[in-house]
């Protein structure tokens, strides 16, 4: 980690934060407090010994002095990309923090993602009040609506200016955050004092420097139900096989966590770990052995796993436009069936894809708290004039991270970590299922 973790600021903070009656002296975070990004004591000592700066993050939280004037600051909120448990909790807390902590009464909600930030699309903005958001944290989805894709930053900044917005909170994933950067750049180009604060949304939990993203716990918790269902189906049949495909385009965090939490899967297939289907050390051989021994099997597969099986066929499928053939779950189902049929093993395969059911759930209580805290940290970031910034969570601390750094590459499962060894231990699957 040699990245520059300094956060951009719009200017000097000179307004006093209106918390005196609530937070005592120590409740405020000193403006330049940083938390170390490594906790290994020996390593820290080595860094210091060799005079290498210890990598660290700016610590999130309320500042005694803020940049924008409490009571006068105008904010906007936009939610982008697929829905994720907790979106409404985040929206709610941004509104509540503005109202009751900073006395800001003008918070606009943009409809349907960045599309709602472009005037000519004709979507009205919604003035958000405590009454409107009071109970939304118990509902899944997003009251603002969402959409995929970016929009012209010029048009979006026009809209921000027109509405006199001081701070824009963008809640979304990689693409959204890159869009937020473009907005920040356009703002800088125009020399405006508008802060762009990102709240990272990734149900896959795959953003760098962020230990945990909101909605992730809810997602893998819900995935557990699908795994239990698959297990029940599998056990009810002679050579019953249950396949559950879970979210995880580039990282297998949901698959891994749901596997450990349920203790049921016999195979957990993720994008980070290559596997072959055929051959004596391939997945199909191992699966067959498991079936012969125990008469049923449960497989959890992250949607991004095994994509290599589709690369050769790409052109062919492009022509027909059939995206379903890239579905690793259905592909496995077909290949397993062919393999077992060839070996005269009668079987019953049930395939479950619970993705939409998972995404639309309200957050678990623990996620709900996490959403509130992220949103609060975001509002503190915005009010203190930080911009082009993301709210993160690392080793137990809420942090501020430059958007640029966090979106540079995806977080992936370290196959030497205790997380992955727990998966191997739970499933009993081989460390490697590739033929040398």
């Amino acid at each position: 980690m040699e990245e520059d973790l300094t956060i951009e600021r719009l200017g000097t903070c000179h307004y006093t934060s209106p918390f005196e009656n609530m937070i005592q002296e120590t409740g405020f975070i000193p403006d330049d407090e940083r938390v170390v990004a490594i906790t290994d004591k020996g390593l820290i000592e080595k860094f210091i010994q060799h005079d290498i700066p210890i990598p660290s993050f700016e610590k999130a939280g309320p500042r005694r002095k803020v940049f924008f004037e409490p009571g006068e600051t105008v904010s906007g909120i936009v939610t982008c990309g697929g829905i994720c448990p907790g979106l409404n909790s985040v929206i709610r807390s941004i509104v509540m923090m503005n109202y009751y902590r900073y006395n800001n009464k003008r918070i606009y909600g943009f409809r349907y993602g960045y599309a709602g930030l472009v005037k000519e699309n004709g979507y009205d903005v919604q003035l958000l009040t405590p009454e409107i958001v009071e109970t939304i944290h118990t509902d899944g989805g997003t009251i603002l609506g969402t959409s995929r894709g970016n929009q012209d930053p010029v048009k979006m900044v026009d809209r921000l200016q027109e509405l006199n917005i001081d701070i824009l909170y963008t809640i979304g994933g990689d693409g959204t955050l890159r869009g937020a950067q473009q907005i920040a750049e356009e703002i800088a180009r125009r020399g405006l004092k508008i802060a762009i604060v990102g709240i990272p949304k990734t149900i896959d939990n795959d953003i760098s420097y962020i230990d945990r993203s909101f909605g992730f716990e809810t997602a893998f918790s819900e995935a557990c139900d699908a795994i239990y269902a698959a297990h029940t189906e599998a056990k009810a049949h002679d050579n019953g096989i249950g396949i559950v495909k879970v979210m995880g385009r580039d990282s297998g965090f949901i698959a891994a966590h749901a596997t450990i939490a349920t203790n049921e899967p016999n195979f957990c297939l993720i994008p980070e770990v290559d596997f072959d289907l055929d051959g004596s050390n391939g997945f199909l051989s191992h699966l067959t052995r498991r079936l012969l021994k125990r008469k049923h099997a449960v497989i959890v597969v992250a949607e991004g796993a095994g994509q290599k099986f589709f690369t050769n066929d790409k052109e062919e499928y492009d022509a027909s436009g059939n995206k379903k053939l890239k579905d690793i779950g259905l592909y496995l189902k077909q290949k397993i069936s062919e393999h077992l049929t060839k070996h005269h093993i009668s079987h019953s395969i049930k395939y479950i894809d619970p993705s939409y059911t998972i995404r639309s759930r309200p957050p678990t209580p623990n996620d709900s708290i996490f959403c509130s805290q992220l949103a609060q940290a975001a509002v503190h970031a915005g009010m203190s004039g930080r911009t082009n910034v993301l709210v993160g969570y690392y080793q137990g601390n809420f942090t501020y991270i430059p958007i640029d750094i966090a979106t540079r590459r995806r977080k992936k499962i370290d196959t030497n970590s205790s997380l992955w060894t727990s998966v191997l231990e739970t499933t009993g699957q081989p460390v490697a299922m590739v033929n040398s």
Copy 2:
């Protein structure tokens, strides 16, 4: 209803039921008590006036005199077809009733459906005890395992004889029950005194003369979660559309009940009600109007609805063996997308098929009770020497029905019933979506 509703009996009951300490005089059902199959007072009076016999069912329940000797009767249990919430509750109660009410200690569980009744398939039978079944009612699936398809009745009766089984409890749907009839016929051919008692399993709730089948309540209750998810997804997008496909090959009971229970769907499509896609009164026009007005829509479709769209293409698809093309949910998704794209309406469609998750659930408490009661009625039927019989539930009474009668045709939704008018009212969909 002109069918003969008389139940076959193996012979005269002369053993005394060992319930004296538990049930007082009035707790036993007189052996020939019947309940009327119609409750309309005027109609009953008309029947009597014209000397037409009032159709009626034999009432289920414990008899003072039984055919098989308590303490000595040997039973077998087999579960067939797809899994259904409550199977384990039924198994549990059959075992418990035999043990604690009739003092019968030998109850065999056959593995994997009728396949387990054919010796050469090599499956062991399992002696079921209270210890084994004590807590299984809280688990989904079936501890016995299941399979589809019938087996040679000759071989199955061989097995029953070999194990000295007096009563066979078969839990399954239409096909299973027809298989049970064949077994009963083979038994009759051999002049054996073995009773065949069926417990109807149809998650679709589509067996004639049976108001409610076990697992059905659990099924539509679980389907509600998928509908709420679809609604959340739909509302989160501009012209968001959520499609939920639920079980129901010939009857739309799950679709209808889940629609009324959630109040969310705008369209409920079932096998009993024809609909067109195109044309000014077709489904796509009505859907488009709904979207223009409200910006989102939820559609619940029973898997057996709209099968007419596949009939023309049948040969074509038969050749390729591609069953997926008959998936009405995916078909609707594609047709809706084409239609809206053609009319330049941007949209987002999410398709949810929760079937396997629904099937594998443990029963709701209410279903759990119902399972116990069905199983108890089944054991009373068997012990009193009734055979070729099914346990039913009609107008608040548990009944005995000849298997033959119940499997003759499927129960369907009466589109003049309050059930269907409730659906129309909840959805606001037109009574008919066909072009004249």
Copy 3:
């Protein structure tokens, strides 16, 4: 049942019901259709033979001709007594039926029970619209608020007149329904044409001639969770005892159903079945035997059970006003502890009273449907000019019952029924725990 089951009507129906496009010929219920109250075929035949009228109920449902003018009828809704799962579903459906089926746009909600019907209490009435009630069926409680106790019928009828109300829907239990009768009497005294339609609310399921009351299924389903908790606590301790007190002042329906649904309790104590504590056949002896054999025990007790233990002490407690001493759950806990301590049996007792958690739940999907159907039947009753009437459910049919008849005595568990024998069988408890 020799009661007069004829329903009062306000006058001749001459308006046409506006359902033509929705319900076809057979969808309407003939105005005098009745359903028999007994289903025993032999009994029916005997009645007819001896020329005794078969007891029967008026069948609920939409009528072709109605008394009040569709589009012009003004309604009021009031919820009284303790909260119960499904209240909001009932309110919602009354509003929706009026709006979309009868085109009536003025439906007033009275706040906080009958108190809201007395002008001088100063509560505003709330105009209820589809927007307000759209999603309330997923929330527990009642959006109208509730209170206990009756009010002066004169003042309440004044208020109804002032608001030009044609139909008042009262949702409540025994006391509420008797209050409704008083209102109906006052209306009759003034010669007004205002219909009073009751929807019986009894979480205990103890109203006569009504097989099932709304919220009851949700209540016993929720009670199951408490029983599982008690069982877990009990099993975790040497001679662990879990006591769960459930609702049921005069009837043990919740206790019985939750017992059968969970299969966990070893004792189910209800108001209908007397029991002694001491003596060789008393409860404490049986409990001790159970503990010696199995090391743990679970007891479900209805709140109305064992009240005889408090009668002697009544004056004493009345003086101190201490109602807690009548808590049979706490009383059992104390007595069990004393008994076991006396016999030197170390033990651990956990007492759970889940009542408020149960009452406040939203309805299960099955209850949700039931609430809608009850409400629909209620609106049909009101629009057709029926008054002083209750909506019931009997042997699978929705019915209309005179309020007077239904509130005369409470429904209780028949200890010869299959319900109670199922309880005995599940628990293994003795038929009688009294010393002769």
Copy 4:
């Protein structure tokens, strides 16, 4: 934190850990790796500048060399104190780790807490196998049973010797851990090589140096249901008040988390924050103001809050032995009722104590994972010969802590933390409710 955080070890590790095929080089934790206990970068730099040692914990995890011989090590497990979600998950993972990672097949479960470690109590030990523990993680409670109170360490060590136990895993709270220390001391006295490894169990989450204890998330998540119930009850009545008492003898973590997660409570009372009832700034005044403004209120109170109200009355109550009067929930209910009655404010108070229902739940999926990880860390600690040690979790790292240190004082809510300010913000309650 000036405590000595060095962990005792039984001797030199010379056996090779049998993980080679599972964990690669980097998967093992170097034997003396430590993680810093502070993450404030400035503070760390200051420590180093002034040559003060940075406080740090030993990092948990698998070691390349172990003390006990894999395949030969005998273990014991004991669960003590009240039940807590996740106990079975911890037991399961200890067994699985021993079986499949260290090839140890002898793991004994002691019944009913420390009582099971004293031979003369007559409890059998249970040999735990993968078959026995396979599915227990989905059940609440503990399959071993539990009890409160310590036993004679001499007798307990006798039993350990008799069974040739090498490692004893004690799962319990403060008292249990102090008992574990006594066992460790007795072992040291005898010069035995038996390791004592503690897994801290505190549903209140109040053990020092441990950010999160297992079962805590499940506990506050379940408490949310009770709060929603209280809110529903409160809103349904004019001046409705819902009181929920949650666990938390010395610390209000459950109360605080459940408050933030639900956003419903208007008052959160915890042991760490003093409050008065009477006076213009007392709780009752603030509650009354809330009621006048909003007509309902929800109060969450930790069981240890407001104990000062009972101190004066202590003797009096001791004499009568009436423990109920120390129940702060009931006390508040009574005081609120008196206060409001005195001020002629009609009201309805509902009091919910969900403790036993909470304790007996199975763990949430996230807690389930945490339990597995704690148990794995515990087994690594034991196998590597660490003793008198506790498994902790701090700033995202699993750690080893001397039992002695962790039990010295309880962790409490820092009222300057973002946790408590979130509570203040959510409830809107005053920072202080004491009269100066």
